[in-house]
Symmetry: D2
Subunit: 350 residues, 4 copies
C-alpha cells in the first residue's frame, strides 16, 4: 500500500501516520519530495483495509497495490479451475452451451425446449422458477412447480440444469432440484446470499452486476470461495452505460481480462446483454472468439407467447442457426463442442 | 402503448399484432405512413407488459406511455406523503437530519455520538449492525449486539433510529430494535426482501441503487407499497459514472424529478455519494436548496479509528460546522429545522 | 511516480526499468515485497509522461502522484482567479447571472431578452450565433448577423456578452463582437481551438465535455493557460450517464471539487444539464448553495417558437421567479447579487 | 412523431398543439384516453425537429419515430457501401488490416513498420502527424514532416495511408499526403470540420466519440454525407464507462447494430479501446467474429521507446502472432484476408 501525503505536511502529522502503520505491525519506506511525501508499505496489508487514512491530516491519496481478493486470483492458483457437473465439464476444452427459456412456464414448453436444445448440442438446460422482475406487476415465475418441471425436463433430456436462487430461504428448496445455482446480476452484492452459497456443495454461476467492476465481481466470488465452495462460474451479461440501442453493453474485454486476473471459468450471456434477438448470434460468435468457456442463450418454442423477455429470445430455428454459426469459430480457435454435423442439423430442422 | 411497425410490413403480419391486441381486450388506433405504421392502444395496458411484441414480424419499437408504477406515483396520490416516527415527521416542513456512524462499534462510540448529534439538532440516529461490504475480509458489523447498542443509545438521547436490513431472515430481529428499516443501494432490487418489508408496519428508507434509474427506484418502492406498507422514504446516495474523483456522482436533479413523479419523501446521503468528508457539507447545502426532506450524515467521535468509511465521516466539530452552514439555507427556502442557535452551538463546541 | 512490478520479475527486467529512469535523470527508491516490487520516483517527472513503462516486462501498474496540470492548479496559485469583463467581476463575491436565448434569432428576440434579463439582475447576455447541432438538418445559427445583433443588444442594455466559437477560423470574427468566448462541451478537447484561444486577450468560458473527468477539464484549461491567456472560466453543464429522465446529470460535486483543485472561477449551466425547464430553478438554487460563481440560464421571450432547445428555456416570468428564488440562497451563503428587490421585481412583472 | 399529453389537459391547450402541427403542414391522428391524449403525426416531420413542443402546456413526452439521419441509413440505401482506396477495398469480402504506430516519430520507425506490416498482410498504414493529446505537455506529433514520412513509407511499401486531421485549417495540407482522413473520437462532433470534410474527395474514417450513441455517430456521418462525400468508414474504438480496468469499454454490439442501421463499412480499433496490449489480440478476434470490415492496430518496432500510447502497442512479433490468430477466424466466417501462410509467417519472423 502507498500513502501519498502533501509535501507541506507538518512532521508531527507525518509521524502520526507512520506510528499508526507501526502499530498495525508494518515497516514503512519513506520517500520525501518537495511536493509530495510517499509512504510505502510492502507485504500483506490486509489489516489496513479498514483504517481510514484519509482522515489523517496531510493524506492525499491511498493506493492499494495488492488485489483485495485472494482465492479468486491467478496468483493464488495459476491453473484454470475446471468444474464438473454430472458429465459436463465447464472450463475445459469444450465450449459449453447452456440454453432454455427465461422462465419455466409449463410442461410442454420446458420439455420441448429441453429435447430440442439437447439435439442441437446444448449441455445445460436453463430456466427460471423464481424471477427477479423490475416491476411487481409482471410474472414472477412458477416457484417450486417450475423447479420440478425443470429438473424433470433436464433428467429426461440428459441435461444438467441451472436456475436462479434469489434469497437465502430459497436455497434448500432450489438445491433439491438444480445442478447449478445461478446468482442474478441484481444479487451480485447480496452478501448474505453469497455467504450461504459458499457453504453448499454445488457450483454457482455468478452474474456480473450491471454496474460492477471486474474487481467487485471477483470480490463477490471471493465471498463464496472464502466459505469453502470453490466451484464458481463467472458470467458476463452486459453493463449499464449511456448507450440505449442495446439493453446493456456486453463488455467482452472482461473475458480476457478476467482470464488474466482469475482462474475461474467464464461464460457469456448475449441474450440479456443485448435485449435484441438479432444481435444474440453475432455476439455469441464474438464471445467464443474472445475466449468464453460457455454461453447462456434464451430459447423458447414460441417467443411471441413467452411470459418474459421475449424480445431477446431465439426460436428453435434461430437457435439452430446460431449453433451452426458458432461451430466454425469454436473450431477455428481450437476448442471443442457437441454441436452436430451440418447434415445432422439439417435433419433436425425438418 | 404505441407499437411502431415498419411501413413495408406485410398486411398479414400487421393483422397478427392487431389480433393479439384484440385478444388481450384492447381497442387499436392505426396510423399508416409510408415508412412506418403506428398502432396506438389507449388506457390500462398492464396486461400487455409481458407480451413480447418485439418477437412479431415488422415490429420496430414498443413505446410505453403510462408509467409502470402506480401507488408510488403523483397521479395516484397528489399530496405529499408524510411519515411519522415517534415524534419525528419526515416529509413535512422540517428538514430532518439523520446522523451517526457508518457502523456501531462499541457503547462509548454510539452513546457519545447519539448525545452529540442530538444536541446539534439531529432527529434520527443512524448506525449499521449488519454491513454490506464489498470484500469478505472487512469488518461486517456487530450484528444483534450492534442493534442493541443502537436502540439503547437512541432511547437515551431521545432519537429515532434507522439501521440496515440485508436479508429476509434478519427482518424480525431488526424489527425489535429499529424505528426505520434501511435498504441499502446494493439491495434496491432484492425483490424478495422488498416484498417482505412491504408486510411490516415500520417505515422503509430505500436507497437508490448505484446504477438504478428513477423509474427503477420507484418500481422498487412499488414492491413495498403494493404489499401494504405505504411508508417509504426514498434516498439519493450517488450513482456510478465514469468520474472517479468522487466515489459516486450525487444526482441532485433526482430530487425535484422524484418530487414531480412521486409523493414519497426524499432524503439525500452526501457522505456515501462523495466519499470525501470535505465535500459533505457543500453537497448537504445543495441538497437542501434543491428540496430534500432530510439528510443522512456520517458522524463519528474519531473517524481515524473508525472501522468503516472513515474517509467520508465527519467529526463532531465538522458536523457542528455543517449544521451551522445548512441552517441559513433551510431558512432561506422557508423550511424548518431543530438546529440550535449560533450561541448555543458555540456553547456545545466548548 | 510509482511503478509497480510483479514480485517474481527477473532482476534483469527490474534493472531495465531502473536504468531507463536513471537515463531520464531520476533517482529511484526501491521497495521489494514478496508479491510486488515498487519503484518510487520523487519530484518533477514531466519528462516521463511519454515513456511507455507498461511495455517493460514485469510492470503491472504506473501510478502518477503529481497532477498533470500546473497553471490551473491551486498548488501553482493559491488565491482565487478573478476575471473582470467591462464592469462585471466573475469569481468575486457576486454570483453572476448570464442569461439569454440558446440562439440569436432576430432583433426583436435578442433586444427584448437583453432588456428583460438586465432588469431582473443578469450581468451577461448569452446567445449563439454559431451553434453545434447534433443533426445537420437543424438550425445552425445566423452567423455574423447573429453576432452583430448580440453585440448591439448587449451594448444597448449594458450587458457583457458571451457567445460560442466553434472553430479556429471563426476566432477573429467572433472577437470583433464578443466580450467572452464560449467553448462548447463538444469542443472541450478540440486542442487546436484551445491553443489559439490561449493567444487572445479575452476570457474563455470552457464547458466541461459530456464525458470529461475533472482532470481532463483542467488539462483543457491548461492548454489555454499555457499559451498565456489566464482568464478561463470553468463551466459544469452535466455529464452523460445511464439516467435518461434528465438530458445529462448535473455533477454539482464538481464545484467544490474544482474549487479545491483549481483557482479558476466556475459557473453552472442548469438549462442544458437537465433539458427540462421545470428543473432549472431547483438546480440553480443548488448550484449556488454549493458554491458556483455564476449561472448560465436560457431565457427566451417565447420558448414555444424558439428555434433551439425550447424544452429547457425559461420565459421572462419563469426567469423572474428563478431570480426571486435564488436571491435568499445567495444571501444565506453570504454572497452578493444584483437582483432587484421583491417589490421592484413585482413592478417589472407588470 | 408522437406527442403525448396529460389526459387532464384543457381542450384549448390541446388545440394549440394541433394548430401548430397544422400550421407546419401536418395531419394529426388523435387518440384520447383517460390518463393520456396521444397525437400522432405520420410522414416526413423534419420541419418539426426544431419546434419545442415541450414548451406547450400539457405536453409530457415527444417520441420521434423516424430516425433523424437519412443518407447514412439502410432505408436510404439497402446495399453495403464499398470504398476503394488505390487497390484496397473496404467494406467488401476482405477484412482489411490497418496498422502502424500511434505517432510517426522518424524515418527508420515508420519505414520499418511499413515494410513489416505489409509483409504480414496489412493493407493500410496508419500513423499520426497531428496528435490530439489530453495534456499540452506531451508530444503532439511532427506535423508536416510526419505527413511526408508517412506518405513516403506508404508509397515504398505499397500501402494506402490513413492519418488524423484535427482542424479545418489542416485539411489542405493533410490532403496532399493521405489517402484516408481520420477524424478522432474527440472531434466526432466538431461539426465545422465534418462539413469541410464533406466537400473533399477522399474517404473519411470517422471514430465514435467516447460518449457518443450510435445515433449520434450516424448523425456525424450524415454531416459528411450531406455535403456530398459518400465515403465514410465508421470506427468503433471503445466508449467511456465506469469500468477502469480497460481504458475504455469496446462496444462490439455496435458492429451488428450499425450494420442493421446503416450501409457504411465499420472497422474496430482494439488498441485504443483496451489500452493494454495483451487484450488487443483477443478483442481483434472478437471484432472479426462479430462482423467488422477491418481493424486498426497500433504497431511499433520498439514500444518501449514509443513517444505515445506504448502501453497498448504491439511489437512486430506480437503483431505477427495476432495475424496468425485472426486468420482462422476470418476464414471461419467466410471472409478473406491477405495474411500470408503459416510457413511464410514463420519465414518472416526469422
Amino acid at each position: 500500500m502507498i500513502i501519498v501525503m502533501n509535501g507541506k505536511t507538518d512532521n508531527t502529522d507525518v509521524e502520526k501516520v507512520i506510528q499508526k502503520l507501526h502499530e498495525m505491525g508494518h515497516e514503512v519506506h519513506i520517500s520525501r519530495g518537495e511536493r509530495r511525501i510517499i509512504l510505502g508499505v510492502i507485504g500483506d496489508v490486509e489489516n489496513l483495509a479498514s483504517v481510514p487514512f484519509y482522515a489523517f491530516n496531510g493524506v492525499e491519496e491511498i493506493i492499494r497495490i495488492l488485489k483485495p481478493y485472494k482465492l479468486a486470483s491467478r496468483e493464488f492458483k495459476d491453473f484454470d479451475t475446471i468444474i464438473k457437473v454430472n458429465d459436463v465439464i465447464i472450463g475445459g476444452k469444450e465450449v459449453v452451451i447452456m440454453a432454455g427459456p427465461c422462465v419455466v412456464e409449463n410442461e410442454k414448453q420446458i420439455f420441448e425446449t429441453a429435447h430440442q436444445v439437447k439435439a442441437l448440442g446444448a449441455k445445460v438446460l436453463r430456466g427460471g422458477a423464481f424471477k427477479p422482475r423490475t416491476s411487481p406487476y409482471t410474472f414472477q415465475g412458477l416457484g417450486e412447480e417450475g423447479l420440478k418441471l425443470l429438473a424433470r425436463a433436464g433428467k429426461e433430456a440428459n441435461l444438467a440444469v441451472v436456475t436462479e436462487v434469489m434469497s437465502v430461504n430459497q436455497i434448500d428448496l432450489v438445491a433439491e432440484y438444480t445442478d447449478i445455482f445461478q446468482v442474478g446480476a441484481r444479487n451480485m452484492q447480496n452478501f448474505v446470499l453469497l455467504k450461504e452459497l459458499g457453504k453448499i456443495k454445488k457450483p454457482i454461476l455468478l452474474k456480473r452486476g450491471m454496474s460492477a467492476t471486474l474487481e467487485e465481481l471477483l470480490l463477490s466470488a471471493e465471498y463464496i470461495l472464502s466459505q469453502g465452495n470453490y466451484e464458481v462460474i463467472l458470467c458476463e451479461r452486459g453493463i449499464r452505460t449511456f448507450e440505449n440501442y442495446t439493453r446493456n453493453t456486453l463488455d467482452l474485454s472482461a473475458i480476457p481480462a478476467l482470464k488474466r486476473l482469475s482462474h475461474l471459468p467464464i461464460v457469456v450471456d448475449p441474450s440479456h446483454a443485448t435485449g435484441r434477438w438479432r444481435l444474440v448470434s453475432p455476439m455469441a460468435k464474438a464471445a467464443i472468439a474472445v475466449g468464453a468457456d460457455g454461453l447462456l442463450i434464451e430459447v423458447h418454442p414460441e417467443p411471441k407467447s413467452s411470459l418474459s423477455d421475449g424480445a431477446q429470445t431465439l426460436r428453435f430455428d434461430t437457435f439452430s442457426q446460431l449453433m451452426e454459426e458458432i461451430k466454425p469459430i469454436i473450431q477455428a480457435i481450437g476448442r471443442e463442442c457437441s454441436i452436430p454435423s451440418e447434415s445432422e442439423l439439417e435433419r433436425i430442422k425438418k
